[in-house]
Symmetry: C2
Subunit: 220 residues, 2 copies
Amino acid sequence: MPAVLFDAYGTLFDVYSVAELAEQLRPGKGAAIAALLREKQIDYTRLRTMSHRYVDFWQCTRDALQFVNAQLKLGLGSDELDALLSAYAKLKPFADAAPALAALKAQGFALAILSNGTPKMLRDVVDAAGFGHYFDALLSADTVRSFKTTDEAYSLGTQWAGRPAQELVFVSSNGWDAACATWFGYRTFWVNRGRAATEVLADPHQIGHGLDDLVQWLKA
Amino acid sequence: MPAVLFDAYGTLFDVYSVAELAEQLRPGKGAAIAALLREKQIDYTRLRTMSHRYVDFWQCTRDALQFVNAQLKLGLGSDELDALLSAYAKLKPFADAAPALAALKAQGFALAILSNGTPKMLRDVVDAAGFGHYFDALLSADTVRSFKTTDEAYSLGTQWAGRPAQELVFVSSNGWDAACATWFGYRTFWVNRGRAATEVLADPHQIGHGLDDLVQWLKA
């Protein structure tokens, strides 16, 4: 059965929906809080991978939030920090996610998430969105204790599908994730939601602006 | 002989001095160009390290500049891009660099640079500043084809000095570099020039705001 692997955060689920709660807690700073939180969270996964100091994605997110609280001088207390972290467990899906997943499922694709998130984070966010029935597997980098873009993390997809990467589609909204998955060998689709410039790394096989473009591409 | 290892870019040499030329080329955008160039340059070193797709720091810088040109819609031509890259070869040293290096040299410390830069980049920037006589070694990550924060890159310092990391001082203005060098085992000094929050990774052994603070610390 052909299979499609999805990145979770930013691709199916909107990490900037954390900005809404942040805006309520610190009016005027919601967008800045969400953007710096995302940047630091990713930084920490990379630094810990390169330095062989793995902690899971939940802890990376906690640590990133602690940095953001200090850097932006937010003065958030532990209840407020916990509330922001909890928001991560129920990030809103993008509006184009459910229709695309349903269409691909109907076309006979096996669907999986391949994410840096912990198994619990993935289960929680998928359940909160009511997306459980779409997915045949939730593949977490935590099971190999190594974050994307390492081969260990990407190979979760090939191992699950029992197929070479060239026969699998990998979908991400993160330009770096799509590029590095291309290096790994996947057929890649970059959901360029933010109309960003292409990363000067490896070119994804296809680029679209939403998940509807992915459905069109896979029909062809 | 006791030894001090210095990060180069941002620590001894001001990467944002590229902003001056960028500002001349695209008025009003110099700071944004320099900041995004630095961010992408570092991103690319990390992604290529994790994905085992090494190219040297000069190429990472070229690639980052190509991204910035597209992302910020600058429309810079090849001559302008070359000029910006050339500016990297003669970044200005911070005003506190020469006095600190002279003081440490006089106190009997062996001094080295330990940087992601290529051997040529390091030689050029050191020569342009007239700093050649201060340094006993210019240690380039290119010789191990692996960028900081890997053990391979940091161990260039211990191999050169012939001493364990615990007996060597490592100095960086990048919070992440100071933190990860602490994990590696160095005695670390974070030159927190930007008064940033401490990275939630590993705490450096000492924090100051300039290289004069480093000299004071090493006197004690």
